[in-house]
């Protein structure tokens, strides 16, 4: 059986700027796959490209972009709309603005089920109330009748999650779902997502720049840099044995109690993500890399460290 989501050689460009350059990743059924990297490395664009939600003017191409073996690049807009919100759902970084201010929580939740499953209003309302309770919202009946502005950010994100689950999706894409929330609320939402993923057997593509989140919830991690997936491995393997200098740098930026001595400075990666012009060749990280030499300007091979751990670097496996 094919994987839930397969992405190979994904390219997205806005005008002359390449936002995603040949990214590859695979999400298995029932797996939490974390996509990490710093701001502007193409994580969100990758997710939007999968959902076909890119802004007008973006160009997308892929050698393979398949959901349950079905080629998404050949799907019509209509066909894609029937998958979105149905078999594949997405939640976003901005809970404050992602709900329509003019409609109640109930009407926004029920319309998904009514659209995709042709459910009656009554059945859809019951399902919505069940899911609100499931994501930890008390008084779901009251919340259904409320408008988004009457809810806090954490509640709105719970509503977004419940809404994404309305049609029993197989894949949930969560684009930095906790970034805009208070720290305590972040932990609650994360625990919720992890338990939902486990209980419902969801395949989840979780986008984050927080390696603490990754360590807690991910089965597999892909590290993105400048539009490429530079390293991908099972979570424990990646943390124990990072091979790409960028991954190593990222991990040095995370304080780990016990492993870091008092007064020892935290690591940082000097410089910023470069602008990738058309015709760029070689490793995009070489300007910031301690191990870079002249060969890094040439095409870089993808190495396999183990059967399910690969990385994009000239340094030998």
């Amino acid at each position: 059986m094919s994987a839930l989501l397969e992405v190979e050689q994904l390219e997205v460009s806005f005008g002359r700027t390449g936002a995603v350059r040949g990214a590859a990743l695979t999400v298995e059924r029932g797996e939490t796959h974390c996509l990490v990297g710093e701001s502007g490395c193409g994580k969100s664009v990758t997710a939007l490209a999968v959902m076909n939600l890119l802004a007008r003017g973006a160009r997308r191409s892929a050698r393979r972009l398949a959901f349950e073996g079905q080629d998404l690049t050949r799907l019509s807009d209509q066909g894609m709309a029937h998958l979105r919100g149905n078999a594949m759902a997405m939640i976003f970084q901005e809970p404050m603005t992602s709900l329509n201010p003019a409609y109640t929580v109930g009407s926004q939740m029920t319309e998904v089920l009514r659209r995709h499953k042709k459910a009656s209003q009554r059945a859809a309302t019951d399902r919505a109330a069940d899911l609100l309770a499931r994501v930890g919202i008390t008084a779901p009946g009251l919340r259904l009748g409320q408008f988004p502005h009457q809810l806090s950010g954490g509640l709105r994100q719970r509503v977004m999650i419940a809404m994404a689950l309305m049609c029993d999706p197989k894949l949930l894409i969560a684009d930095e779902p906790t970034t805009a929330l208070d720290v305590t609320v972040q932990a609650q939402i994360l625990r919720l997502l992890a338990s939902l993923q486990r209980d419902l057997g969801l395949g989840m593509l979780l986008i984050t720049h927080d390696l603490g989140i990754v360590a807690r919830v991910a089965h597999r991690v892909s590290v993105m840099y400048a539009g490429e997936v530079v390293e991908s491995a099972p979570t424990t393997e990646l943390f124990a044995n990072p091979r790409h200098p960028y991954t190593q740098g990222l991990l040095r930026c995370v304080p780990v109690p016990g492993r870091i001595k008092r007064d020892q400075p935290l690591g940082s990666i000097p410089g910023t993500v470069p602008r990738i012009e058309p015709g760029f060749q070689g490793c995009a990280f070489r300007e910031r890399c301690d191990f870079a030499d002249a060969t890094c300007a040439k095409t870089i091979p993808r190495h396999a460290a183990t059967a399910d751990h690969d990385f994009l670097c000239r340094l030998p496996a």
Binding site: L53, S98, L99, N100, E111, V112, R115, A129, L142, L144
Partner: protein, 324 residues
């Protein structure tokens, strides 16, 4: 917090919050103040236009005649007394009598109002029917030649004087093609041409507002959510985007209707529609100041009422205005 709060019954409508009632109480006070100001202005304007007794008595009147007229109409009393007399009677619905028509002013206005209202509503409906689709289309095709074409049409509409457009339509649709009657109020066809002319004054603003609102809505996060939910294009555009884009459009449409009712003086002239605007014009010419005062007052009150209606409709469309 009783058990009812935890009930799971679907209840998608929320009641008007107390904050909302307060909001309307404040609006009502402002409306009354506006009406009072308009009364002072309407009264002052008619008095400032010269000695009313002389103009009523006519060019051949003697000084004694003028004094008789002055006494008969109460113009010899202090201005403040005259003003409060008028306000006091207006408050009971008595707007005085017309000197020229020899009728009660209230009856006179009531007779003419249906024509003006029909004309104003026709104009508003035509304006909305044209500008909503145009605005949506321009927003969906933002920065294409179609978008620029729509904006150009809006610009031309804004620049075109209404009496000139009225005459053009009379010549083409009325005289050359013979499709529509060019004057009078005999049938619904009589309202089409003046309605179009009146609509033209509102179309540019409404189109641009719809376009801007739709562009803003379509770029918002909740539209991305609606797309991520796999909703149909129609639901995304009309249910999710237009609902939010319409909020300022509704407010401006109500205000535009006020402008149309008050501003139809020129159009009623051109098309010989005997509405309130026509009445105002006649009365100004004949120095029939009770009528002029009353028309200004009535139109102002309608205008204020329409702005309040716009606020109310805003609150219905935008739940955030209804308080927490």
């Amino acid at each position: 917090m009783g058990a009812a709060r935890f009930s799971r019954a679907p209840r998608f409508r929320t009641k008007l919050a107390p904050a909302m009632l307060q909001f309307f109480a404040r609006r009502l006070i402002v409306a009354i103040l506006v009406a009072a100001t308009v009364m002072v202005l309407a009264f002052a304007l008619t008095r400032l236009s010269g000695d009313l007794a002389i103009s009523i008595a006519g060019p051949n009147a003697t000084q004694a005649d003028v004094e008789i007229v002055r006494k008969a109409y109460g113009l010899d009393k202090p201005l403040s007394v005259q003003f409060f007399d008028w306000v006091g009677r207006a408050a009971t619905g008595d707007l005085g009598d017309s000197y020229f028509f020899k009728k009660r002013v209230a009856d006179l206005i009531a007779e003419r109002m249906p024509v003006t209202f029909t004309l104003g509503l026709t104009g508003l409906v035509i304006a909305l029917v044209v500008s909503l689709p145009l605005g949506i289309l321009a927003a969906v095709r933002e920065n294409t030649s179609l978008d620029r074409g729509v904006q150009l049409v809006a610009l031309i509409g804004q620049a075109m004087p209404s009496f000139w457009l009225g005459l053009l339509l009379m010549i083409t649709l009325g005289l050359q093609l013979g499709w529509l009657p060019i004057s009078g109020t005999g049938s619904w066809q009589h309202y089409v041409m003046p309605g179009i002319v009146l609509a033209f004054s509102a179309i540019p603003a409404l189109t641009r507002l719809t376009r801007a609102g739709m562009i803003q809505a379509l770029g918002s996060d909740y539209i991305r959510t609606a797309r991520a939910k796999g909703l149909s294009r129609a639901a995304i555009l009309l249910k999710h985007a237009l609902r939010n884009a319409a909020i300022p459009v509704v407010a401006i449409a109500a205000v535009q209707l006020g402008f149309m009712l008050g501003g139809s003086i020129v159009i009623e002239q051109v098309f010989a529609l005997h509405g309130v605007g026509f009445l105002a014009w006649e009365s100004i010419g004949k120095n029939d100041f009770p009528v002029v005062q009353a028309v200004v007052l009535v139109l102002a009150v309608i205008y204020v009422a329409l702005t309040m209606l716009a606020d109310l409709m805003n609150a219905v469309l935008d739940p955030r205005l209804r308080g927490p």
